[in-house]
């Protein structure tokens, strides 16, 4: 066999073997990875709306997904809003729970972020950031409190604490939430929050 033919044959064979191996691995792990993502969303819903017994998707468009949640007596608990937007360094994906009348945020959780470790990454920190989101009045857009205060009681009803040293990351989270709140109200006005496609989980 000539040298060039050998080169082609060897690379093709190696490529084919690798490719078939990878497709097997891909098939074997695909389901599990999808399940992990599903599980993550489920966990996040129960985190932001702890009374959740069942939940189902009621709206999905681009970066905004809304889940309606009901408790064990099938009473509405509220909505879990899954959304994302630009952070300081990369996309921040978060979820927050809101009451059925869209007036109060129940809790916020950050699902994905690549903010600066030790500074902006504190947006995932319960004690320095997330706990200040509980019970915020969101009938008007939320605003940021700088410098941060110690106790959640010192905040105005629609204020959240900024993280010291990470104002931009805090602002970005605030922007993502405010933007989705605006869209949420529009969607509600248009009556698009249908629960027709019930796929209870």
């Amino acid at each position: 066999m000539s040298l060039s033919a050998r080169m082609i044959v060897v690379l093709t064979v190696v490529g084919l073997i690798s490719g078939s191996f990878l497709s097997v691995v891909g098939l074997l792990t695909k389901e599990r990875i999808a399940m992990n993502q599903q599980q993550e969303i489920q966990n996040a819903i129960s985190e932001v709306l702890p009374a959740t017994k069942t939940s189902h998707k009621v709206f999905e468009d681009g970066s905004l997904t809304i889940y309606e949640s009901r408790d064990e007596n099938d009473n509405p608990v509220g909505f879990a809003v899954y959304t994302s937007g630009t952070g300081f360094q990369d996309i921040i994906t978060l979820m927050y729970g809101i009451d059925p009348s869209f007036s109060k945020i129940k809790a916020l959780t950050i699902l994905e972020q690549k903010e600066t470790p030790g500074l902006g990454a504190k947006i995932t920190d319960e004690s320095s950031f997330l706990r200040y989101w509980a019970g915020r009045n969101c009938e008007q857009p939320l605003s940021l409190r700088k410098p941060a205060v110690e106790s959640p009681e010192d905040l105005a009803p629609s204020e959240v604490n900024a993280i010291t040293g990470a104002t931009i990351s805090s602002e970005k989270v605030l922007d993502i939430v405010n933007l989705s709140l605006e869209r949420l109200k529009e969607i509600k006005q248009k009556g698009q929050l249908s629960s027709e496609e019930k796929n209870a989980t």
Binding site: V14, V25, I33, N36, L119
Partner: protein, 205 residues
Amino acid sequence: MPLKKSIGTEYLKGLWDENPVFRQLLGMCPTLAVTNAVINGIAMGLATAFVLILSSLVVSSIKKLIPNQVRIATYIVIIASFVTIADRFLAAFFPPISKALGPYVPLIVVNCIILGRQEAFSSRNSIGRSLIDALGMSTGFILALLVLSSIREILGSGTLLGYPLLGAWFKPWTIMILPAGAFITLGVLLGIAILIESKTKARSA
């Protein structure tokens, strides 16, 4: 050809004499990027070890079939396949670790330790020796990441493997888990490594 080393020295050279991080300065990108917590360092070390060991086995077993002109391309295809397997495996079974390591798992493909060992060792040695070499290099790499990430996690977060190690009096040095902390720690460790090396040389001379 250099004199054949014993199996023991072949393995041990990866730990110190030819330690990929401290002596060869290879694979700096993951070394610096993922060592902000011990668990990330361990996961990265194990993923790299998996890729290195299996690539070395495959390369050393088909080394006679690969034409010299396409050897690098062939090595990369083999390495990339194992990296993808490692990446999928982590995403499927250890999603939090996969998330923490982010793009650095796929980036193992371009880790110079792996391609370097194929080129310098597996392509000219027997399967057995390549395996020993890969095991030694992997151990050396894991140890280096372990040392680096322990120092950074203890000083930067006051924890070790997530457990609080230092009391409340300790104010974490945030800089240690930032990129600057990685460079500082690596620089100090490299300095110590060179100091030890020069001392041992002076003594043996």
